[in-house]
Amino acid sequence: MKASASPAQPIDAANGKRALDALRTALGKDWVFAAGDQALDAYRDDYALAPHGDTRPWAAVAPGNLKQIQKVLEIARRYKLALWPLSTGRNLGYGGAAARQAGALMLDLKRMKRIIEVNERAAYAVVEPGVSYLDLAARLRKLGGRLWVDSTGSPWGGPLGNFLERGVGYTPYGQHSDTQCGLQVVLADGTVVDTASGIKARTDNLYRYSHGAWVDGLFNQSNFGIVTRIGVQLMPAPAGYRPYLVTVDAEENLQALLDALRPLSLEGLLPGRPTLMTLPRAAAYGATRAQYQTGAGPLRAQAHSRLMAEQARGYWNLYGAFYGAEALLDVHVRELQNALRAVPGARLHFADTRADDAAFKCRAALMGGAPSMDEYKTLDWVGAGAHLDFTAVLPFDGDVAQSASEAARELCHAHGFDDCAEFQLEPRALRLEIRLIFEREVVAQQRAAHAAVSALAARFVSLGHGSPRAHLAFMDDTAASYRWSDDALAHASAAIKDVLDAQGVLAPGKSALWPGRHSGRRK
């Protein structure tokens, strides 16, 4: 495990005062929040993990435009401040609005909340950091609903933050990194970089790769610059929409299900990112675990049976959807039905028989371009809940998935959690998201969640399954797992960091990119 850098040096009182004065001059005193200001309470992880520790900021600023950001950067460089940029601050489950370390200057970009452009013909939007999915969806509705936005399960967050974190959605535009089209970034030295293809060109945001090197990917899950605008491709509203649910009763038939679905997935006959949930994961939308079992510890078999019976679901529950004209929807359904013949105990359901299924309602909305906040209902599973997610990527292979699922369940149970997990289906890979739902205010459960993720990470890394995303507390370890060829990738990233942000003013420690860690030339 890589050692973390020592905590940021707190700024001394005299320089701190000068810095604050400079910031007030630059932004106006209304937009600078210093110690004692209640506004600073907002910059924390709502789902705090006890071992993660105190990450309280030194101060916060809220710039209103690019010029002000450049002024803040200049002051940060002068006084050696550590900025922590955030957009809507709703990265719940991954650290929320907290910085990596205490003592940061929060750079809150929520005031910049314009929808710069919605291009209906070419189906994309350009938005600023403060725009939420709810905002964008409302605008698209107002424009006539011909375009869908692919929202995440947390639509009060925004596309800019979500795309930068490599978040995902569930429509055919759900792999957000594939639908990102152009960024405006401010580097640590104040330079503004537009990655779209030209200078205020007609083709901005149309062609995802600029003329030279395609640099956009450098700014995802990173701290090489402050992103102030993002291009987001939008999905044309389809002629028709049919969400579905496949239930498979027996846990051990996961392998058969995935192997049956893989060819369909590769042919594009399982559009979007169908989500295959375990029983507890799907059940949590409409129940609390206390209704099925008292006392601590994961649900036992008897409770599972009751849940399956009462909610009419299997151990496995695949929520997906088809898009297109009626005739096409019917073809999709037929193809799926044919594939499911090879899967014991598989049943296909549609909306008409799932009126009481709270999960169906939520997933159908998300897959249908209608942002829903109902994901949060799953946290009622434990009363007043919070969650911590562990994500790993596996090959789309029934055998591998079955083993991984068993390993996940074993580790969740060992730490007292139910196996609330889902496989998100992409054509060649599966993204396994294990959701640890814990009681927000119970420190022992916070610790247990933290320990569970550590255990899951260690196991999955040993199996060769990488994590594509991590909570702030786990970023160092996650980055360290990508160590092929003597940490070549880490060294290259560190080299870039040391040039683009020599003073380390931008989000030190984000994705384990710490300033000054590059050790120089390799032999």
């Binding site: 209640q38 309470d41 907002a42 609005a97 809150d108 929520k110 906040m373 946290l379």
Partner: protein
């Protein structure tokens, strides 16, 4: 243009840190009060029957937000699942509401535990009335809540009480009041 006040409010996920509760202001300009309920169960049904307020059901917290944005209500009471409370508290903050009362009612293990925070007189009254109500604690709550805030005291207190649950149902509900200032 986003004002400083609404900017600060939009940053907060109000209510998760108890310290964010604010005393009710004396100036109550509008009596319009809406009852928000979700989590369809016997308890919430009792609650709505007993409460004589105009009811709004959260089917969709986003719709609630849009309602809030229209700014009609000065005060909203709710008896909801925790997740709905979490969302409402945060979203309503965007529209200038503050949390003035918060109660957690945990009856998952056969006991009914109530943890309350709000104005002293109202909290003391609730502490007295909830345990004897037993399974019908939501009725007691429904009677008490509309009377919240008739005093002008600034301080808020934490208090709790407990009773045996007379119902086999197990759950966790949150009651709350947000007020536009």
């Amino acid at each position: 243009m986003v004002s400083r006040r609404s900017f600060i409010k939009s940053s907060m996920v109000a209510g998760l840190a108890p310290g964010l509760l604010h005393a009710q202001t004396a100036d109550r300009h509008n009596d319009a009060t809406v009852l928000v309920v979700d989590g369809d169960c016997a308890d919430t049904r009792h609650f709505t029957r007993q409460c004589r307020l105009h009811r709004l059901e959260i089917n969709d917290s986003i719709e609630l937000v849009e309602t809030l944005a229209q700014g009609g209500q000065a005060r909203l009471f709710g008896l909801t699942r925790d997740s709905s409370y979490f969302i409402v508290a945060s979203m309503s903050a965007l529209h200038g509401y503050r949390l003035t009362y918060h109660g957690v009612h945990d009856f998952r293990d056969g006991q009914c535990r109530h943890q309350l925070r709000g104005e002293p007189d109202a909290m003391n009254a609730l502490v007295a009335n909830l345990p004897p109500a037993g399974a019908l604690w939501t009725c007691a709550l429904a009677e008490a809540l509309p009377r919240l805030g008739n005093t002008q005291k600034a301080a808020l207190i934490d208090t709790q009480c407990q009773a045996a649950s007379a119902t086999a149902r197990r759950g966790h509900l949150v009651s709350w009041c947000v007020e536009r200032v």
